[in-house]
Amino acid sequence: MSLAWVLTLGALLFSLGIYGVLARRNAVLVLMGIELMLNAVNVNLIAFDAWIRQGNATGQIFALFIITVAAAEVGVGLAIVLLVFRRRETINVDEVNLLKW
């Protein structure tokens, strides 16, 4: 099986994630886009790991770390979303734009 196929799938998922992050208003959907991007990275890591397949499975270990970091990210991200919702009755990212001039 060609390595580039799997990497292309990773690139596709990553780009879809970017689209999700950039085009969605709803903060939870933005978080979903970020999850897609993180998974795309994992796909790449696992693919390279299978391609090299040596010694201590570095790619898989790092995929595990990324899954952990993703869990932490979702936890904090959702906490922030909930906080914003409680304060402002909306979680639309483009309405939370106080941080300007």
């Binding site: 998922l13 959907l29 595990l64 936890g75």
Partner: protein, 162 residues
């Protein structure tokens, strides 16, 4: 075309279609369910590539925990429905940037690894992963556990009603 390649194409098609559905869904809950499909397909792909442990972790943590967490988030924030309510005004720019990134990455990947092949070998045993994790990678492992703890405390602090 080998059986492995056919399986990859099927899983890749599910993941790609699911991914498109996630970022275009008009109903947030549908979006979350499509995400489940994508993540499950990727988990299966990991199994296919010989990463058994990571594959099951992917399904357990992503599908079992993270998506459930996202669904809780959706329920607690009463998201409206419809494209206008869910998408912002820069959909065009987003599409251009995403397409550009995809083109660049694909070109790069084929440019660099076009001829490389993954030869099928036996799966990595979970014991090996555990061994590596607690010997070579014990320092990053500890760092990540501290990060998780910090995220836990931070999330509680942020979300609790004062």
């Amino acid at each position: 075309m080998t059986g492995q390649e056919m399986a990859f194409l099927a899983l890749g098609a599910i993941a790609a279609a699911g991914g498109v559905a996630v970022v275009t869904a008009r109903n947030v809950v549908h979006g979350a369910l499509f995400l489940v499909a994508v993540l499950a397909a990727i988990g299966a792909l990991f199994l296919l590539l010989g990463a058994e442990f990571v594959g099951w972790v992917q399904i357990l943590i992503y599908v079992g925990a993270i998506v459930v967490l996202l669904l809780f988030g959706l329920m607690l924030t009463k998201a409206p429905l419809g494209r206008g309510a869910l998408d912002n005004q820069q959909r065009g720019i987003a599409a251009i940037v995403a397409t550009g990134t995809f083109a660049m990455l694909t070109w790069l990947v084929w440019h660099a690894f076009g001829d490389e092949r993954i030869t099928f070998v036996r799966a990595v045993r979970t014991a090996d992963i555990g061994n590596a994790l607690f010997t070579s990678y014990v320092l990053p492992f500890e760092a990540v556990s501290v990060l998780l703890l910090a995220a836990l405390v931070g999330a509680i602090l942020l979300a609790k009603k004062d």
